[in-house]
């Protein structure tokens, strides 16, 4: 290669470096601007597709029992009767009651599931096994603790039990995946037995502290403190 060619190449490289130095701040600005534009995540896309539960005008309006935290005892659940037009189809019905549970009660302190959580999918098998797939917020926004996690799971199980008799067993997934625990404590690798009427009736024994029990305005059988759904091995 002659000396002239080398000079030309060096000049070209020098120009390229200068152009890059000028363009770099522009590029940085563009990257920052793009980062600020919220991109729909896969989960958001799934929410849009799955969350809309079509309501038919033919759906009968019934009193659905939704389980939120009891106003008398923050460690217990209490059913609240909500007028809902519920579908006769068990899957749609389950989605409707879970979405109502997620929407929360009038008093937001009594909610059991985080406000930003969403039901992504719900499946019902012929044997009554159900799989409820929630968004990641259920795991990341539920307060870490045995009591808070147990109340969250119980509220889903009790609400399904009270309104969708076809549901026998419940499996909870987070964003389509099986996870070890909800937020560090409650085991989500197992199935929760939902339809265990005899067992639950026996277990609906309000375990209120002595001071609170006397003040409780709710009938004893309406406040569900202790009974966590039995678990069933899937292995």
């Amino acid at each position: 290669m002659s000396w002239n060619w080398r000079t030309w190449i060096l000049v070209a490289l020098g120009i390229a470096v200068v152009v890059a130095a000028i363009y770099f701040p522009v590029l940085r600005r563009r990257v920052k601007t793009t980062a600020k534009i919220p991109q729909p995540t896969e989960e958001q896309a799934r929410r849009e597709l799955t969350q809309a539960v079509a309501q038919s005008p033919l759906d009968p309006v019934v009193k659905a029992k939704i389980f939120w935290i009891s106003s008398e005892d923050e460690s217990a659940l209490a059913p609240v009767n909500v007028q809902l037009a519920l579908s006769r189809d068990p899957v749609l019905r389950a989605k409707q009651v879970i979405n109502t549970l997620l929407a929360g009660p009038v008093d937001s302190d009594l909610r059991t599931l985080p406000a930003d959580a969403a039901l992504l999918a719900f499946y019902l098998l012929p044997d009554g096994t159900t799989v409820a797939d929630f968004s990641e917020a259920l795991a990341t926004s539920t307060p870490s603790g045995i009591q808070s996690e147990q109340l969250a799971v119980n509220s889903i199980a009790r609400t399904l039990e009270a309104n969708v008799p076809q549901v026998k067993r419940l499996k909870l997934l987070i964003h389509g995946q099986e996870v070890d625990t909800l937020a560090g404590h409650v085991d989500l690798t197992q199935f929760f037995i939902v339809d265990s009427k005899a067992k639950l009736q026996g277990a609906v024994t309000p375990d209120l502290p002595a001071g609170l029990a006397a003040k409780s305005a709710l009938p004893a059988s309406d406040t569900v403190t202790n009974p966590s759904p039995a678990i069933e091995s899937q292995r």
Binding site: E74, S75, P143, S144, G145, I146, Q147, S148, E149, Q150, V153, D180, T181, G184, H185, V186, D187, T189, Q190, F192, I193, K199, D207, L208, P209, A210, G211, L212, T225, N226, P227, S228, P229, A230, I231, E232, S233, R235
Partner: protein, 269 residues
């Protein structure tokens, strides 16, 4: 045509040496994976003899009845557990609580083992392994909640499980707690009774919850949860701890006469 062997050999050796160096990390990681999978396949009692003593102490000398209490300060390491105002972290608090419980139990004559003593986070299975390798032991996992009435304490056990002991008495590692559920409940009620006497607003009876840590523990096992990291001042929780320790120690002592283990079961990991 004659080709000198010298340069060719040097090039070959260099290539081999570079290939060996490049594959060294893969070889090491494979060896680690093999070692860890082998550990999982060994019955826990045998693991104890092979494991470093700093991690798992050898099984205590076997005596009849309940003698050992395995304390499990929950969370740790990268998992802080519940977090409250002023940077209160459950993983730190439970270490202090464990110290208080340990003192009270040792004063009652129990031998105490801990699943962790510093800011590390053993796996659920590693924590259970320590308890499962002991004879005459109970397991207590200690927690501080995010929510609940501050100044109260609750004791939990596993709910009933459909897991059954297979023929030959072999029990799956994943359901090691199943045969101990009723014994755990007695144990939990004994501890909850003591806590209810000391902390107004605490329930009189223990409760059930599907707690991951308890599922793989082959011993009477309970979770104790104190409310809560939401207190304004950490001192409120610190003041509770000696009383919690005393209540747990008395509960363990009260449970001691009821400690009759179910039929011999061997664990299948």
């Amino acid at each position: 045509m004659h080709i000198s062997n010298g340069p060719l050999l040097r090039i070959t050796f260099s290539i081999l040496a570079m290939a060996l160096l490049a594959s060294l990390p893969i070889l090491i990681s494979n060896a680690q994976m093999l070692a860890s999978s082998a550990l999982r396949e060994i019955p826990p009692a045998q693991q104890q003899s092979d494991a470093p003593t700093s991690t798992y102490p050898p099984p205590a000398q076997q005596r009849a009845g309940l003698n050992i209490v395995v304390l499990d300060p929950a969370h740790g390491g990268t998992d802080p557990g519940a977090r409250g105002a002023q940077g209160i972290r459950e993983s730190d608090l439970v270490l202090d609580l464990t110290l208080q419980v340990r003192r009270a139990l040792e004063a009652q004559g129990f031998q105490v083992l801990q699943t962790r003593s510093g800011n590390e986070n053993p796996s659920f299975d590693d924590r259970s392994t320590l308890a499962n390798a002991q004879r005459g032991a109970v397991f207590i996992t200690l927690h501080i909640s995010s929510t609940g009435l501050p100044g109260t304490a609750r004791v939990y056990t596993m709910p009933d499980s459909s897991a059954v002991v297979a023929a030959g008495g072999i029990l799956s590692w994943d359901h090691a707690q199943a045969p101990y559920v009723s014994l755990s409940r007695k144990f939990a009620d004994a501890v909850q009774g003591q806590l209810a006497q000391r902390f107004k607003g605490s329930p009189n009876n223990s409760q059930t919850a599907a707690i991951r840590q308890l599922r793989t523990t082959a011993a009477p096992a309970i979770a104790v949860e104190i409310c809560s990291v939401s207190v304004q001042d950490r001192a409120d929780l610190d003041r509770m701890m000696p009383s919690v320790g005393d209540a747990i120690a008395r509960g363990v002592a009260a449970f001691r006469p009821s400690y009759v283990l179910p039929g011999e079961t061997s664990l299948r990991p």
